[in-house]
């Protein structure tokens, strides 16, 4: 090869490499992916559609939520001045940035692309104010997400008439991860341990309060949510044993006694427990269950999945009744989700 031709080929090679990197840079930040989803309920049918301008797969599940009304507002408790009781040392998946603040930041961003955007972060004082305000309403439809491992003393001190318990009785929905629910409450200076905490929230002792890590290696087979929601977290530490609980939905994975996820009725409200210590998987499942609009009485009435490759896929789901309370959740990406939307009847 002549020197001149050499130089031309080397230039071409370098330019191609630079082009690959720079086009990749544009694609990484230009937000070129477009998704859309829709569900329309009419009579005993649900017409649905999902579209993507790329190569994607979708999952669609319709749950019958009985008489449980949809959540319309989400609040996350985070107060850096209050003590916490979570263990973030065991990370089974990629990443070590596992502090509570990071977990919440990631959860909000994950929920956002799944269509859940009405989220407020509240401190201990604002939480008490919010829950007190909810008590004045006849039918509370607010959900509270707590990942601190300890509720603040402003709403919980281990007493039967605590604000958090009244709020749950009135229809509040509590999503919990990070420790055994109710085992601790905290102030700015101290963490207090509560005895008989399980009875306060569940009426019986049913939590896996072991300190060692517990894992499950079987699917919950009572329903198919493990697959239709692409659930990943198989930790059962702090998880719920539902065998003696009524109005409880378990999903995800089970070690034979405890499950990785459980939704339990409490008064007019609901408690949702996510087993284990902080992991990316746990957070992924938390966002899926929230986005799917599940409750303790949810039942799958329709499920579908397939490819949606640079096109729009449509379908019709046959429902049991025109008057039931349905939540249809469509998401794209399976175990690597990138879009989700929920549609209530």
């Amino acid at each position: 090869m002549s020197m001149n031709r050499d130089k031309k080929l080397l230039t071409a090679l370098a330019v191609v490499i630079i082009a690959v990197v720079l086009i990749g840079e544009v694609l990484a930040y230009a937000n070129v992916r477009e998704y859309n989803a829709n569900v329309t309920y009419r009579d005993e049918e649900a017409s649905w559609s999902v579209s993507s301008n790329g190569s994607s797969n979708f999952n669609f599940v319709i749950s019958d939520n009985g008489t449980f009304t949809a959540t319309d507002e989400y609040i996350i408790y985070y107060d850096e001045t209050y003590c916490t009781a979570y263990d973030s040392t065991k990370m089974t998946v990629i990443g070590q940035m596992n502090a509570q603040e990071y977990y919440i930041d990631q959860l909000i961003k994950t929920l956002a692309y799944k269509g859940v955007t009405d989220i407020a972060v509240v401190d201990a004082a604002a939480l008490a104010e919010k829950l007190t305000g909810d008590l004045a309403e006849t039918d509370c439809t607010t959900a509270l997400i707590v990942v601190s491992g300890a509720l603040p003393a402003t709403v919980y001190t281990g007493q039967t008439d605590d604000l958090i318990l009244q709020w749950l009785d009135n229809g509040g929905r509590l999503y919990w991860s990070g420790n055994a629910l109710g085992r601790y409450y905290s102030t700015e200076n101290e963490l207090f341990k509560v005895s008989g905490y399980q009875e306060l929230f569940f009426g019986i002792e049913c939590l896996n309060g072991e300190i060692d890590d517990n894992k499950a290696y079987e699917d919950v087979t009572a329903n198919n949510y493990r697959y239709v929601l692409s659930l990943s977290n198989n930790q059962t530490l702090y998880g719920v044993d539902s065998s003696n609980l009524s109005n409880c939905l378990t999903l995800g994975y089970t070690d034979g006694q405890y499950s990785s996820i459980a939704l339990v009725q409490h008064g007019n409200g609901m408690i949702c427990i996510f087993g284990g210590n902080y992991t990316d998987y746990q957070r992924a499942d938390l966002s899926q269950v929230i986005a799917a609009g599940l409750c303790y009485c949810s039942e799958i009435v329709y499920e579908n999945s397939g490819s949606v490759i640079r096109t729009t896929v449509t379908g019709t789901a046959q429902l049991l009744s025109a008057t039931d309370n349905y939540a249809g959740y469509i998401y794209i990406g399976g175990y690597f989700p990138s879009f989700g939307r929920t549609f209530y009847s």
């Binding site: 990484a28 290696y217 990406g333």
Partner: protein
């Protein structure tokens, strides 16, 4: 039959023109990679690439969601591959979580995951890496042919790279991108030798921001650009340096710009900062400080000697000093894939100086691949089990359990490979500094020191198989 086939290939090889020979090598390199890549996979890294792509697809860029811990260049490459997948392919499912594989996540080595990427996605990620392997092989051939003026040695160099076990493993099985790091550094060297300094600067910035090891070579590259032995006036050399600097700075700014604007700069360089903070933490900090000081002395001497090298020896000194600088940086953290970035330089030296460097190359190439094979064991067969239905997951879980039970044996292999790699790197380093043993300021002053230098020279010459003359 075997003899007939060997005769056939031998006669075909000898009858082929040089161009055909390199094509034959590249085709064989491609064939073995294509045959293996759908079936054998290391699960963890390719999972991470799928996660990063889904983060990008969700509109969260590279660093908003958990996933990417490398500097952005690899993220941009992934994003480009993702764009190709989205625009042209029918790969719609990235992966699936297998319940029967869950126990592998609890193995003592935590780098395994039951969420297994699909064969299609894995191949889509491996194709660019395999292409990179082939490209590096060809560039080595091209450079060696020009540098040594010897076709046979150039072909040998390409073959060393294409059939090096760790190179093959990391692209075809591990889906790790260290071959891209090798490509960027090698291309930088070739461009600078051709006086294409602006492009050289642009590519060098990509090399440094992909994995930081090439950054350590910057003073050698600069010294080479302005070396006394290179043709050109002082003004021309200053221009060359200016173009290289502009290229490097420009590309660095362009690459990091989104992270600067988004306030993600600390995340985007965390691959570098986290490793440095680990290396300089606790009791390690004293050791590392001493090593850094020694390293600085080596860098200063190597840079100076590159600058003052005779005209006839400018390239020789350039390659030798690049290897001299890179080798100790690999010894600080003996991760098997890291060594790939220095392999092209080691191959250049092996092709030029023969046996001793070839020995180092063989030990590094084999020991580094034994490391992941020992650690990952039968998990490498997860694709076969879950996607092709060969065997079952219990078999993988059982063998991993056995391996954990034979923890001492596994660690013996692991430490054995690390020691072998460490010794090979150390020998490489001593080979690169051998001229210092022959001629230095301490010579002829103290007899004991002279004997030490003579002894080192003698030992290294024994390994070389000839009397080395700098």
């Amino acid at each position: 039959m075997m003899i007939f086939l060997m005769d056939y290939f031998s006669s075909t090889w000898h009858a082929a023109t040089p161009t055909r020979r390199i094509v034959i090598l590249l085709l064989i390199g491609l064939l073995i990679r294509v045959v293996i890549s759908p079936f054998i996979t290391y699960d963890y890294d390719v999972y991470a690439w799928a996660l990063i792509l889904s983060n990008v697809d969700s509109g969260n860029g590279l660093y908003e969601l958990t996933g990417l811990y490398y500097t952005p260049v690899w993220g941009y490459c992934l994003s480009f591959f993702g764009g190709i997948i989205n625009a042209f392919s029918s790969i719609d499912v990235f992966g699936f979580r297998f319940t029967d594989l869950l126990p592998i996540e609890d193995n003592w080595y935590c780098g395994h995951i039951a969420t297994l990427t699909t064969v299609g996605f894995g191949i889509a990620m491996k194709i660019p890496l395999i292409a990179t392997d082939l490209l590096v092989g060809y560039l080595l051939y091209y450079l060696l042919r020009d540098y040594l003026g010897n076709e046979e040695r150039a072909l040998k160099g390409a073959a060393f790279w294409l059939f090096c076990p760790i190179v093959f493993y990391m692209s075809t099985v591990g889906t790790q991108f260290d071959c891209v790091s090798a490509l960027f550094l090698l291309l930088t060297i070739i461009l600078l030798r051709r006086n294409m300094n602006l492009l050289g600067g642009l590519i060098f910035a990509l090399a440094g921001l992909l994995k930081f090891f090439p950054l350590f070579t910057i003073t050698i590259l600069i010294a080479y650009l302005v070396a006394q032995g290179r043709p050109g006036t002082t003004k021309q050399k200053a221009e060359n340096l200016g173009k290289f600097a502009i290229g490097t700075i420009l590309m660095t700014v362009v690459i990091l710009l989104p992270d600067i604007i988004n306030g993600d700069l600390s995340k985007s360089v965390s691959f570098i900062t986290s490793r440095f903070s680990t290396l300089f933490s606790g009791g390690e900090s004293i050791k590392m400080t001493v090593l850094v000081l020694l390293g600085l002395i080596v860098v200063i001497i190597a840079t100076y000697r590159t600058y003052v090298a005779d005209a006839a020896k400018t390239d020789d000194e350039f390659f030798r000093h690049l290897l001299m600088i890179l080798t100790p940086t690999m010894m600080v953290s003996l991760m098997p894939q890291y060594a790939i970035a220095l392999l092209p330089l080691l191959i250049i030296m092996a092709a030029k100086e023969g046996r001793a460097y070839s020995l180092c190359l063989a030990v590094i190439g084999i020991s580094t691949v034994l490391d992941p094979l020992a650690v990952n064991n039968t998990v490498l067969a997860v694709n076969l089990v879950e996607w092709y239905g060969v065997g079952n997951a219990n078999w993988i879980v059982w063998t991993m359990g056995r391996a954990a039970a034979d923890f001492n044996l596994e660690h013996f292999i692991l430490y054995g490979t690390l020691v072998a790699e460490g010794f090979a790197l150390l020998l490489t380093f001593f080979l690169t500094i051998q001229p210092f043993f022959t001629k230095n300021h301490f010579r002829g002053r103290v007899k004991a020191i002279d004997r030490l230098f003579d002894g080192a020279n003698w030992a290294l010459n024994k390994i070389r198989g000839y009397e080395y003359e700098p």
